[in-house]
Subunit: 385 residues, 2 copies
Amino acid sequence: MNKMVYFDNAATTFPKPNKVYEYMDRYYRDFGVNAGRSSYKLAREASKLINDTRNKLAGLVNYDKAEKVIFTPSATIAMNQIIDGLTWDEFKTVYVTPFEHNAIMRPLNYVKEKFNIKIEIIPFDPVTFALDVEELNLKFSRDFPDFIFMSHVSNVTGFILPIEDIIEAAEKYNPIITLDCSQSIGLIPIDITKLDIHYLVFAGHKTLYGPFGIGGFIDKSKIKLAEIIKGGTGSDSLNLNMPDTYPAKYEAGSPNILAIAGLYSALDWINELDVKNIRKKEIELTKILINKLKENDQVKLYLPENLSNHVGIVSCNLNQYNPNELGQILDEDFNIAVRTGFHCAPLIHDFLGTTNKGGTLRISLGYFNETEDINYLVNRLEELL
Amino acid sequence: MNKMVYFDNAATTFPKPNKVYEYMDRYYRDFGVNAGRSSYKLAREASKLINDTRNKLAGLVNYDKAEKVIFTPSATIAMNQIIDGLTWDEFKTVYVTPFEHNAIMRPLNYVKEKFNIKIEIIPFDPVTFALDVEELNLKFSRDFPDFIFMSHVSNVTGFILPIEDIIEAAEKYNPIITLDCSQSIGLIPIDITKLDIHYLVFAGHKTLYGPFGIGGFIDKSKIKLAEIIKGGTGSDSLNLNMPDTYPAKYEAGSPNILAIAGLYSALDWINELDVKNIRKKEIELTKILINKLKENDQVKLYLPENLSNHVGIVSCNLNQYNPNELGQILDEDFNIAVRTGFHCAPLIHDFLGTTNKGGTLRISLGYFNETEDINYLVNRLEELL
């Protein structure tokens, strides 16, 4: 059978740049110790790598406070840290978009049940994906937003959300805003100084092209979140409370120097290539994919009307197929890897009307896809129709 | 300068077996996707690896319920999951030993402040490290133990705790018992069926010789812990609650297949070598180290009287030196890596009388140390005295 063609980059980018694999392996063999500032040389080297990686990541979003780059083992844990670290009480209103992932919705639902908060949905047009600013202003005026949690890019549709418009509409209510950049950082230029947000969440293993095991958040707020994970920090050991300093307060336990080395190298790769060029290649590939799929009227695409607000994630359904069944055929007969179903996004299927269809077939591109991969996929889909 | 001699294996074992590095690199290059049971071949392969690793780990402690092996990104997170997942209220009494790590003490201290629980210390003789059973029975009868958290092996002194005696003394009170095996699993044979405990916590990167990024706990209880991290599980996506099944309930977010591959390979290595032989080599090396250090009366050793209850972690102080200063000399002048200070263990320094000394100098051995490393260290220490 032919080599696998991989279209599940929204779950995790694969492969990684070769230098990421090489650097991780070499670094872990040569420097794989437990970091510590006041210890021996190798432990200091490991600490330096962690700080250098913080600096690189802060630089990527134009932030000058590297100590406010908090590393967690995943974006999911980062989101839990933010949500559980905030102060909740009754009568608070949280706004989310229909595009949110369960990494937001499940921790929020827990808060909802515990504190009886209200969760409101920011209104979008289900056909064009346009933000309904008028309706949003009305909703905000009826139920003031205390918190907003929103994705920068939808993991199901690739839609780039109009985050600036939402931030602007919310401005006078001064809500605490968390932006989930799991599907955007490294692919879409972000200048955090120009966004009036409090927290930016990132995943290392998606659009940053790093490995599993590293994610986190950038804290731009003046709030001190309660820490949710407590433990050793290699500092102030006789104190039974966590240190109150950034980033130590939120980083209990041994740092994952293997994953951080991978992220370091991935950030190098992104900087060398430049975010703009990664995005440019992806736009070109996505255009080819969409144009070919559009030729066939049995393919239902779930895309924003304005394709300049879109990355290389294309959800679709084919008339007579259940997406899971179709994904199985693509895998078994053609060695094509796509993801099918609900994609951990609980609200969007009502929005798109895909709940009863079993979700969508999601084709998600990465930098290492080529035009021939897309031709291969589209030709196989045409054979099936 | 000569090659570094590494004696910080209690922080993380280093190096790892060569096959662990090789397998991780190869696996991540070839199979580094997001696991998923009903997806494409590679995602199913990744799921299979995760299940195989659960099976191997369960097998290592003679447990037949692999689904109760819960993976978390670290032992610290596992311990937080257990402590925060239990039900607390006032008047509860928790027993710990003087040997506990901040991965236990800091989350417990938070519970103490929030719920006004009582934390009691299990009595040990500070010279011989013998458990004072009589005093323990008295304490238990005055303040019934509701919970016990204890290390299997002390990360500062290498002392193997008399866990069976503590479990026996507690039996009639039926407390919930958590055993921290971060410094023992893979090194000391454990048969979980013979231990009347509820939770066994493990770290992948210490005595298991795996990488950072993977730890967890084995759940032997009949209690359903509340989950502390919520998020996507790749299943039941439209449900805003976490699935109620093991292990999914406690494993939100993308599994770290890179770290799990490393742990898988490390478990293979342990099984091939056999736990008994790893222990045997360590005992031999430790004996040489202790005997040489004992020759010099300016070296104060912090060891149990009965050395059959001891692994290759040796804490000491040298008369005229502060441990941090001594560690620095060993590093800078001789390229010897030891750890100095309090080692994230907040209670033991009062117990040992090392609080005002700035803690201890800790020499911790691993399978890849050799006799010549120990001779080199001991000779340098003698030069300094």
